[in-house]
Amino acid sequence: MFRTVLKREILHNLYSLRFLISLGLLVTVFAAGAVSFVRSQAAALEKYRATRGEFFQTMRARASQGATELAVRRQTFTLKPRANGFLGDAKERYLPNAIVYSAWNVFGFENRSGSANPFLRKFDELSWTYITALIVSFIALLFTFDAVSGEKETKTLALSLANAVSRGTLLAAKLASAVLAVMAMVLAGALTSLVIVVALGPEGVSAALAGEVLGYLAAASLLAATFAAFGLLASVASRGSNVSLLLALSFWLAFAVVIPNSSTYLAKNLFPIDSSETVEKNVAAAFDDLNKNAPPGSWMMNSGNPFLPQHELRADLQMKRMLAEKGIRDASVRSMFRQFERTRFATALSPVSLFEDLGEAVSGGGYLRFRKAWADMHVYQKQFLAFFKALDAADKASPHWFNPHENVSTTRLPVAFEKVPQFEERPMSFADRAGPAAKYLLINVFVLAAVYFLAFVLFVRYDVR
């Protein structure tokens, strides 16, 4: 019985005007997004290669000047533009994308100037995730808002229920058919996009992409189902299709516009963190304190003589300064991570926000990617330091007074650049993505179940006449 009803519902959807318009709209937007991605990715890669080339040139020059020079000078590692950005850009343009480090410390991060144009109002890239979050959610609502109230108005609902069809079956068929119709359109759009990216893209596609596309499709069907359920809820909560439409639109505005856009406000008011002025003040105070208690002569400098006794005092002072600053800054960074994650969790109230977070996990980008690179960089920094210390230990002409900021009291021998360990960003593994994704999935499934159950209860009590 379910299959008969489902078939009828699917045919009803396929022949409808809204299906044709939605299909045209989605395929066009997917295609526009792919073309735009291909162009901007090529430009971003070109800039990235230039920056990376310069990075290696500088590093090579420093290595030939001396191992200490290479170890103590700050370097900036820039994240590569992601090849699967068309799947979900995860707003990477606005996120920090470069990590500043030396052998002694991972200092912080920056948003490489130029990755976003400050004169251009913030905008969403037309990635699959964004198109789905905005348009597919809307279309899913549009397919279901009059599923019950509309049929009541055309009097076919009473007729349907006069057959041996349970209300549960009817509602489930309506939900399933809407999801299937929407997903058929998404599939068409995604295929168009894939063809364009593969044919014109500056890079080949990786094997992992197949899994990512499947993950995306699964997440998109969940979003479609959630909004279809909201549409059904709107439909059974009112007597006329007019009112259901307004209810559905209100849901959509709340989830797609209001909640995601109140994130900054929520973050600052619910989860405040120390201002950057406070952090700077704390660092300055710590420095003052250390300088005051430093033995006299600590700042005396003579780069010509590595064994000048004051170098040991200063190395000790500089090390203490670095550790004090690191403690304050690392705590500040942790508070930023916490604020960001809590805000995300607060906005998970909206299925659209949830889907965007899910999209980020599926495509392995954005904040998750940065967090991983940040953690990996700390591991690498320890290796780099161990490598440097081994070099220094082998040098008899070095006093071995470790100073994280200066190049006077440790080895001055040059080092072959090829031997220096380099930081490589590791790709996001399945586990890296599955962890956060599972959390979002769980919430989403719960929301879907709750909304559908509510719609079911209301439908059972619905007066179909």
Binding site: L17, R18, A43, R121, L126, L246, L253, T264, Q339
Partner: protein, 535 residues
Amino acid sequence: MIGTLVKKEFLTNLVAPRFIIVFVLCLVLIPFSVLINISGYRERVAQYRIDRDAAEKAAAEVRVFSAVRPEIVLPPEPLSIFGKGISDQVGHRVPIRLGEKPLLAEGKTAAGDNPFLASFFAVDFVDIAAIVFSLLALLFSYDAFSREKEDGTLKLQLANTLGRSTVLAGKLLGILATLLPVLVFSFALSGLLILFARDLAFAAGDWGRIVLLFAASLVYLAVFVFIGLVVSTRAKSSVTSLVVCLFLWVLLVFIVPAVAANFAESFVGVQSRDNLDRVLRDIDKQREETVSAAFRAQGIPEGWNCWWCSSGEDGYMETYGNPRDGFETFRRRAAISEPIRLDYADRKWAPAKAYADSLARQARAADRLSFASPTGLFRAVAAAVCRTDLAAHERLMDRTRRYRETFVGWLRGKDIFASYRWITSADPATFKTTDELIERRTGGEFKSERDFDAWAAKQPDFRTRWLKLSQVKVPGENPDDYPYLDVSDRPRFEAPPGSLLSGLEPSVVWLGLMLVEAVILFAVGYVGFIRYDVR
């Protein structure tokens, strides 16, 4: 007769559930956006005060002219509560330097203290208005005729001695009578929220601009009413009309602006910032070479030696306790290097400007492309009205560059680069010779540099030399011995007064475009209704 029609339309709309829902939607969304943006504005004001006080303090606590580097802190725009435009992403601090002209403003953006928050977006009144008013207009016009046709009342109406024009006029006026109160209510509510917010003061000109924003919203609303009208006269049933209208809404309000920004970003490239930095570094290197060559030509030694000195970026140099010829060398160095620095700032401007222009070109392209939708036009007009668009920012940055010229003129007027006041607070009349200094510092133990050097050469530890010279503390050899410099006559940056109509010239064209769109749509709708089969 038309009065009766309008009244009928108005009452029909008023009792419809959609009126209540839409009204509630406005009641929730408008205060939501205004309150969030008032809070954002307060935050910017607080930050402005912190930055301004810090800049004032830094500018006042200097002892030499080479340290005088004013920093302009731009006050936040009160109208950004309505439309924030690009105001919260461009920064508000502009340090004035000798070595370069101001290019981009610095300072905290909307993300505040956490750069990760930059990936969250925020809406303002204008965004909400663009979304809700268009929806409102379509919801009340999509079934203007199709519904009445379905109900059979349209036939009935036209069976009377009524011209179709009269019926159409009655419909439109009826819709207007329904929507206008919602619009007025939204603006009044926002106005009240601002009036009753503590520590918020709008000037008369600002209120005037809000009235302009209201006028623009009215035109925007009209465009969408006419879109609904056209669809309504073409569609076979009201359901079709509704579906078409909703898709048009998503297309015009959300998709067209997004596609415009994406295409502008992909097809109108910007220059690489890293590349600009490289070019500027190279010019700086050339400057250093020019300066070195000039030093050599004047016989000034490369390295320098001082008793107490502190130097920093952009030519800051402060020194005390030197012998007379030491001070003289520092003075001659600055007299040569600083005018060269100013010349090179002019050279650095060309590539810097080319970079900023490429950023502006991309942003303008995004705007122009978004004009394919009335929403794009409305946003552009609104940002101009709220003085938060790119043009307003560029005008401010132009002012900061003019201020820099004034500041440089002020320095030149004092002929300060060739003066000792550029590098030290010490009075030239008190300068001593090396021999005098050694005698005073060693408490008379050595009478001349030669005696001292002869003694120092015999010391095994070179630190003894330093310790010997530090035996007697001589006043005036340390910056703390001097008061701060009086630079109260330094030129001040004046933020431009917000006049009612300034900077609105391009928006007149855009508003005109919206009006033309409205007229064309109306004409199409009118013809469509005249030919409409009412049966």
